[in-house]
């Protein structure tokens, strides 16, 4: 199996293949970081997961925090006791953590503190594609942008140093194509680390009452003045190519890779300024670069973040230079991820260069192939308990009920034939969006969210339902793990990120503690019983909670393999009338139709028995495996 112990190798200069996220984990060890906090989220998850595997041996502390806000707060405490810390999260996690981050910028830190924000252009696994570089501007925190795994490691180390030098948290902003790219990484020396901190009382700096906050806002602005000098001198801000055509390109992060390859593709003799420290930008360096070119093209993913700043510099220092990007006229898309091809197209349009390859012909042939190609969207796995849950929910709620859904595998419940999900905004939102829907429509309203999401952000919403007496039913889909992001433990699992057992926080006790009067727990595979319970829950005058509890099938399958338990797939008997009820209702990938007959794919069937319980002719037989 992929061996993460490579991250512990005490062999400086050795060249190894690392995933961007693993490279950041190695950077943590080379930077002397001692406390790592995280909440899992694609594309950031493997940072915490890698650290979790090696934490004990490396002598550092890591935790999966309840959510990103808590993760930042824990680290803010430790970093202010002089210990080096890092928190990793996906981009939207920073929205959750923003309250702490904005004021921690005033307070600052003593030990170096890096916040990794992993943005997801193209929304590969996210609900939006916000550009978190604007958080750097908003919070007045320095921001570094690596373009590949090597830089991801190196910048982690530099960010820790910069943080300590400035006394400020530093943002390390990655994107999916950095987090989830593997590349060669040259290892550096492992650093000493210490988990021992001390709290030195410094009330004016550290206790943000208004009088102190005014002072510290001043200090923050001073620190950022100093940061400008660091940015100007940073080797991560550098001219990587000299050109003679009068065309210059400014780029950062993953976009830089596309930019230089596009320049080669077009045989463009352009100068290239690569920015690694993108807040504060090196204004003097940019001014000089502008002065040396007639046209400057800013190539960046998502928002015109650099373009805004380059234009501001140009206005004062080089007003005659033409600056191109995506503002006045959009030469590069503001949405989705870029590619070498899309960047080359933009560059060609600006410079009048022609392509050597006929992409138009290729694309029209490809459009022909795609026309009648069946789609293959992600789906709930065979044996997934969410399928049983949504089957029950749909059976009870029908078309009349409203369905507020949430972030996790169960968002896939919107796919046919289950089609459960009317509104999805962000982590933990369902329990509260359901209250708004229910209040103004009077419809039966069911909110669904998972166990990890419950702990992450649903509790204030649930308290609200009790306090304001909202008539909603929350169904907690408890599969005993954080499934979507790679099966991380959470407060309900009784296991920590350090791999040690801990108190299991009981969902039921939390729900009871919030004052919910109707609470039931049931196995969703027991379709009849689960349906009765849900029916009863929907009839309550106030908020009700049903916990549908059944473990993630990927975990059960793994456990069975470990124990050597053989799965005997279910069978379709000759009682089958080909009525297609199972196919129509469930959409299980293990149920296939061959020559008009329903068959069970033996390789996929996990013997959950859901199909047998919906068959009107009792034509599917087998023994349920739990």
């Amino acid at each position: 199996m992929p061996d993460l112990r490579v991250l512990l190798l005490d062999e400086a200069k050795k060249r190894v293949l690392l995933l961007g996220n693993e490279a950041i984990a190695r950077g943590i060890l080379e930077a002397g970081v001692s406390v790592v906090t995280t909440y899992p989220g694609t594309p950031a998850s493997e940072i915490g997961d890698s650290v979790s595997v090696i934490a004990s041996e490396a002598g550092l502390y890591m935790e999966y925090s309840t959510n990103e806000l808590v993760a930042v707060e824990v680290a803010a405490g430790a970093a202010n006791c002089g210990v080096r810390c890092l928190t990793a999260m996906k981009h939207v996690g920073l929205n959750v953590a923003a309250d702490a981050v904005m004021t921690l910028a005033y307070v600052g830190v003593r030990g170096g503190y890096v916040i990794v924000t992993a943005d997801d252009p193209e929304c590969y696994s996210s609900q939006n594609e916000q550009d978190n570089r604007f958080y750097a501007l908003l919070s007045n925190l320095p921001c570094l942008e690596p373009s590949d795994p090597q830089e991801a490691k190196d910048m982690t180390i530099v960010a820790v140093k910069m943080s300590e030098e400035l006394g400020l948290p530093v943002l390390l902003r990655t994107t999916t194509r950095v987090n989830h790219t593997r590349g060669p990484v040259v290892l550096g020396e492992l650093a000493e680390r210490s988990l021992k901190g001390d709290l030195i009382r410094d009330v004016k700096r550290m206790v943000m009452v208004p009088a102190h906050a005014r002072l510290m806002h001043d200090r923050l602005l001073e620190k950022m003045e100093k940061a400008k000098g660091i940015s100007e001198a940073s080797p991560f801000n550098a001219i990587t190519r000299e050109g003679r055509s009068g065309v210059g390109i400014i780029s950062s992060g993953a976009a830089y890779n596309y930019a230089v390859e596009a320049v080669d593709l077009l045989c463009l003799d352009a100068g290239v300024l690569k920015l690694g420290v993108t807040h504060p930008v090196p204004e003097k360096m940019i001014a000089k670069f502008l002065a040396r070119h007639r046209k400057v093209i800013v190539v960046e993913e998502l928002e015109p973040y650099l373009e805004l700043q380059v234009k501001a510099v140009a206005k004062d220092c080089a007003p005659n230079v033409e600056v191109y990007g995506k503002m006045a006229k959009s030469f590069f898309s503001r949405k989705g991820e870029l590619s070498t091809l899309s960047v080359a197209q933009g560059l060609a349009e600006i410079t009048g260069k022609k392509f050597r390859v006929d992409f138009a012909g290729l694309h029209s042939a490809f459009a022909d192939v795609m026309k009648d190609l069946p789609a293959r969207p992600p789906i709930l796995c065979a044996g997934c308990p969410h399928r049983a849950s949504f089957f029950v929910i749909k059976k009870v709620g029908g078309e009349g009920a409203a369905y507020a859904t949430d972030i996790g595998c169960y968002a896939l419940g919107i796919a046919p034939p289950l089609c459960v999900g009317d509104l999805l905004v962000c982590m933990g939102s369902s329990v509260a969006t359901a209250q708004g829907i229910s209040r103004v429509t009077g419809r039966s309203t069911i909110a669904t969210l998972g166990d990890s999401t419950f702990f992450h952000a649903a509790i204030p919403g649930l308290v609200n339902a009790v306090y304001n007496n909202a008539k909603v039913t929350l169904v907690v889909l408890d599969n005993a793990t954080t499934a979507m992001t790679g099966h991380q433990p959470h407060p309900g699992t009784g296991m920590t990120g350090m791999g040690s057992p801990s108190e299991k926080v009981s969902i039921e006790k939390v729900v009871e503690g919030c004052g919910v009067k109707y609470l039931r727990t049931v196995d969703p595979f027991k379709v009849k019983e689960a349906s009765e319970v849900l029916k009863e829950a929907l009839q309550q005058p106030g908020p009700s909670v049903v916990v549908f509890r059944a473990p993630c099938v990927l975990l059960s399958v793994r456990e069975r393999r470990r124990q050597g338990v053989k799965v005997v797939p279910f069978k379709v008997t000759d009682k089958c009338t080909d009525c297609m009820t199972c196919i129509r209702l469930l959409g299980c990938p293990a149920l296939v139709v061959v020559d008009g007959k329903v068959r069970i794919d033996e390789a996929l069937c996990t013997a959950c028995g859901l199909c047998a319980s919906v068959c009107p002719y009792s034509a599917i037989e087998g023994r349920c495996l739990k």
Partner: protein, 201 residues
């Protein structure tokens, strides 16, 4: 060295990620520059997945330009078609013949295209097609889960593939689960042999 681009297209759960990691690890063993792109998270749940491996001194971007794949390694016929935009006349398509019908195909009254139809579509992009029965070869090797190793072996048999055979085998042994090493090495050899034989004929 000129660049060498591989696109691995398959279905979540088929082991495309591991195959790509094996290729990347092998390239680093040979002291080559390499980038491997992966997609994790929601997309993996039985959905279409694609990984790319790019080897070459000047390579920086992890993703492949349209039409610029040297090898399109299709783990499944439909997914091979879905990624044909990476193929052009220079591309060799190595395709596993095992079909994985997408869920809901029957409910939507859609048919899975036949192998000849698939090959005919590929031939609009390139004439160089090798079909491998990875399921059968993996079975022969002793593990139905070793299809990805069959396909890595098939790729390693391509003459222009710039990584040493022994480096790929070494990376494979390092990365597949310890108790399945033997079956996976066997699967690799069967895939390698199948393509060598095809090329000789």
């Amino acid at each position: 060295m000129k660049e060498f681009n591989i696109v691995l297209a398959g279905v979540g759960g088929q082991g495309t990620l591991l195959a790509a990691e094996i290729l990347g690890t092998a390239a680093v063993k040979d002291e080559l520059n390499v980038r491997v792109s992966e997609i994790h998270g929601m997309a993996q749940r039985g959905g279409a997945v694609v990984s790319t491996v790019r080897i070459g001194d000047a390579v920086r971007a992890p993703t492949v330009i349209d039409g610029q794949a040297d090898v399109l390694l299709g783990f499944e016929p439909l997914e091979t078609l879905r990624n044909l935009k990476y193929a052009s006349r220079k591309t060799l398509v190595i395709m596993n013949s095992e079909e994985i019908p997408p869920a809901g195909l029957a409910a939507k009254n859609l048919k899975y295209p036949g192998l000849e139809e698939v090959k005919q579509k590929i031939s609009r992009f390139t004439e160089k097609i090798i079909v491998v029965d990875a399921a059968q070869l993996a079975e022969e090797a002793g593990s139905s889960l070793a299809q990805n190793s069959v396909l890595v072996g098939a790729l390693a048999a391509v003459a222009s593939f710039p990584v040493k055979l022994e480096s790929v085998v070494e990376a494979l042994k390092q990365l597949v689960p310890a108790k399945h090493v033997e079956a996976n090495v066997k699967a690799f050899q069967l895939g390698y042999g199948a393509v060598k034989k095809e090329m000789a004929s």
